[in-house]
């Protein structure tokens, strides 16, 4: 049973829906977007992820037509959209503040865009009803935005921006105003709706968990540049830089010099009095090249006695973060470095093996970490 995996970005024959080509945007002296090239494909759920001020919102506003490019071009379905004003683009946006019209009912809010392009009352009504059903808002159609809850408002904003069946839907921090529980439920709802409508979604978020959950691909941005574009798994498991590794999830970084020992395997000299650690890497390093070994805490094991492993380092427990399902042990090495090891709490807390100040060993395999140049 070979279900085809959705991965148009790996198919060289696939034409991207959106093409950023050497896009630069300057606000006075400030460079918001720096020579950015990026392809987004049809039916993708694409996440722009980064800290505030990294340029992700500017990119979205350029797609919507609210900002002009300083340099470069953006193509939508093969057509350069530089001269097309916002109201003529087959792109709709869901605003962070939702931007619902307070003087109009939920129904009229959803119908707003439809009325701009058609006078066919019956067709508009049918489409609005369809949207209300899709977002489960039938009961609230006659209410004004201030008479419904935050979660319902979020769904009205989504219904309104989807009503015109845009080629591309932009979502600016769509779940930012919701509380944690509701946010989680809404993430799945968003994915569901995206799948049902087949619309290409581009979401802007600073919440890495949200990006990882909903997106088919994630672009991690920093200071106007895209650091890495990949599927959530690859972003997490194979980051291409310390910045990406550090931005997504928790990570241990060991700095040192690489020394090739055999094919695609390197020794990393990370501290003078310590045995070098071994790491596999397809990325080539020359002898003595500075490198960073990034290891996720859940890939580090913790033991009382020296284990049989590719890499094992002794230290003592400095701190324990108890998260309920997991515990993170902060182990201080003799060099002063701290290695975090994450362990699933499969036993009750009273049966915990290690406690503060315990001497322990941490270990990981040679393929557990990622060797990075920068």
């Amino acid at each position: 049973m070979a279900e085809t995996v959705f991965a148009p970005w790996d198919d060289p024959n696939e034409k991207p829906l959106i093409r950023f080509r050497n896009v630069t945007k300057r606000f006075g002296d400030f460079i918001a977007i720096d020579d950015l090239t990026l392809d987004i494909f049809e039916r993708e759920f694409f996440a722009l992820l980064g800290p505030s001020g990294c340029g992700k919102t500017t990119m979205m506003r350029m797609l919507a037509g609210f900002e002009n490019l300083t340099d470069g071009s953006i193509e939508l379905a093969g057509q350069d959209i530089a001269g097309v004003p916002a109201n003529k683009r087959a792109v709709n946006m869901m605003f962070q503040s939702y931007a619902l019209f307070p003087h109009l009912s939920v129904w009229d809010n959803i119908a707003f865009g439809l009325r701009r392009e058609s006078n066919d009352k019956a067709a508009i009504a049918a489409r609005v009803e369809e949207m209300l059903k899709l977002t489960r808002l039938e009961k609230f159609a006659r209410r004004k935005p201030h008479q419904i809850s935050g979660g319902q408002r979020q769904r009205v904003a989504l219904a309104r921006s989807l009503a015109k069946a845009p080629k591309l839907l932009l979502l600016d921090e769509p779940l930012g105003a919701l509380d944690a529980k509701l946010r989680e439920a809404t993430q799945f709802e968003l994915m569901d709706i995206q799948e049902k409508t087949g619309t290409t979604f581009v979401i802007v978020t600073h919440d890495q968990e949200e990006a990882m959950t909903v997106a088919s691909r994630v672009a991690v941005m920093d200071e106007g540049r895209v650091m890495q574009v990949a599927t959530p798994e690859r972003i997490y498991e194979a980051p291409n830089s310390v910045y990406v590794a550090d931005f997504i999830g928790d990570v241990n970084i060991l700095r040192g010099q690489a020394k090739p020992i055999e094919n695609e395997t390197y020794e990393v000299n990370w501290a003078a009095q310590q045995t070098p650690v071994v790491a596999a890497s397809t990325r080539p390093f020359s002898d003595g090249q500075a490198c960073h070994l990034a290891i996720r805490p859940e890939k580090v094991a913790i033991h009382r006695d020296k284990p049989e492993a590719d890499n094992a380092v002794q230290g003592k427990v400095l701190d324990i973060a108890y998260l309920g399902n997991l515990s993170t042990y902060h182990v201080e090495l003799p060099t002063g470095d701290i290695i975090k090891a994450q362990v699933a709490n499969t036993r009750r807390i009273s049966r915990r093996d290690f406690t503060w100040e315990d001497p322990v060993w941490v270990s990981w395999t040679k393929t557990a970490g990622v060797l990075l140049a920068k």
Binding site: A64, G65, F66, P85, A86, N87, K88, V91, N92, M93, F95, Q96, S97, A99, F101, P102, H103, F112, G113, R116, E117, H146, R160, S161, K164
Partner: protein, 310 residues
């Protein structure tokens, strides 16, 4: 659990005290209203029911005749008189017309100004707001007199227009209804601008972007979003101009001509030229009744706004 703590006792006492304080606080505005509005109105209303007399005060009966005697002599004669002479209802209609037209003109001038202020860079707004309020620092009377100097035959406006060659002979503006409109629009402009500005200032810019995103042109977005969302400001501004303009006296008497018929002027003439206090009072009572309708509507609008925001 021992005896009630000091805190609890304190709270009890504060409760009773708070009740009383609230009652006093509420009573204060009512007391003012009673002393400054209801009593004077009762006096005016009583005079409107009296007859003209050559005496001091110039009407009869007065309280000197004894309360019961006085009350028994009151009648609605003056109100009937107002319906018999068509000067009065013509003055009311003309005032309504002038107030309505000047209200619309003020809106036409004020809205773009308020819009420009709300769209101006943040750091300029306090200054612009100041400039709108600035004329209040000079006496209203002096400012209206200044318009006499501007609008008269040899005034600045005519001289300027003659100089640049648009006209050959001076325009007659002063002592016409046009001058009255100019005067009212000028005087009441801040009352139109401020509420509209405050409504536009609160308007979320992303709403306009959302409208454009959904296919509106700039102009369409303005009609469909900006105007409806500043509706409350427009209504408040219109009432704030219309209500005082209706009873306006100074502007029509200084800038208007013999053809300008406004109820404020009629009222003044009845009081000071004819010394017919009872008829003048009757005119005033009717004016108040006419004004009550828009005032009630205005308050309903304010209340609705509060509810919508709450």
């Amino acid at each position: 659990m021992g005896r009630p703590g000091l805190g609890e006792l304190d709270q009890d006492r504060r409760g009773a005290f708070g009740e009383m304080r609230r009652a006093v606080l509420i009573a204060v505005p009512y007391a003012w209203l009673f002393a400054l509005f209801l009593i004077p109105f009762a006096v005016v209303f009583k005079i409107s029911l009296s007859d003209i007399a050559l005496a001091i005060p110039p009407y009869t009966p007065t309280a000197k005749d004894g309360i019961w005697n006085m009350l028994s002599q009151l009648d609605f004669e003056n109100f009937i008189f107002l319906t018999e002479d068509d000067l009065y209802w013509k003055a009311y209609v003309s005032s309504l017309q002038i107030a309505l037209i000047s209200m619309l003109l003020t809106l036409l001038v004020g809205y773009p100004m308020a819009y420009a202020m709300a769209r101006a860079p943040e750091q300029w707004r306090p200054t612009l707001l100041m400039l709108v309020i600035l004329p209040f620092w000079t006496s209203f009377l002096i400012r209206v007199y200044a318009w006499v100097g501007i609008l008269s035959g040899e005034g600045f406006l005519n001289q300027f227009l003659l100089w640049i060659g648009i006209i050959d002979a001076p325009l007659t503006i002063l002592n016409t209804n046009t001058a009255v409109y100019i005067g009212i629009v000028y005087t009441y402009l801040p009352f139109m601008i401020l509420p509209i500005y405050s409504a536009l200032d609160r308007l979320d810019g992303s709403l306009i972007e959302a409208a454009e995103d959904l296919g509106c042109s700039r102009i369409k977005a303005f009609w469909l979003v900006t105007i409806p969302l500043s509706r409350n400001g427009i209504i408040a501004g219109c009432f704030l101009v219309f209500i005082p303009a209706l009873g306006e006296f100074v502007i029509p008497s200084l800038l208007g001509g013999s053809g300008t018929l406004m109820i404020g002027k009629v009222l003044f003439e009845e009081f000071f030229s004819n010394r017919d206090w009872p008829v003048a009072s009757a005119v005033a009572v009717i004016l108040l009744l006419i004004l009550i309708i828009p005032i009630v509507l205005f308050q309903r609008n304010e209340q609705k706004q509060v509810e919508a925001e709450g």
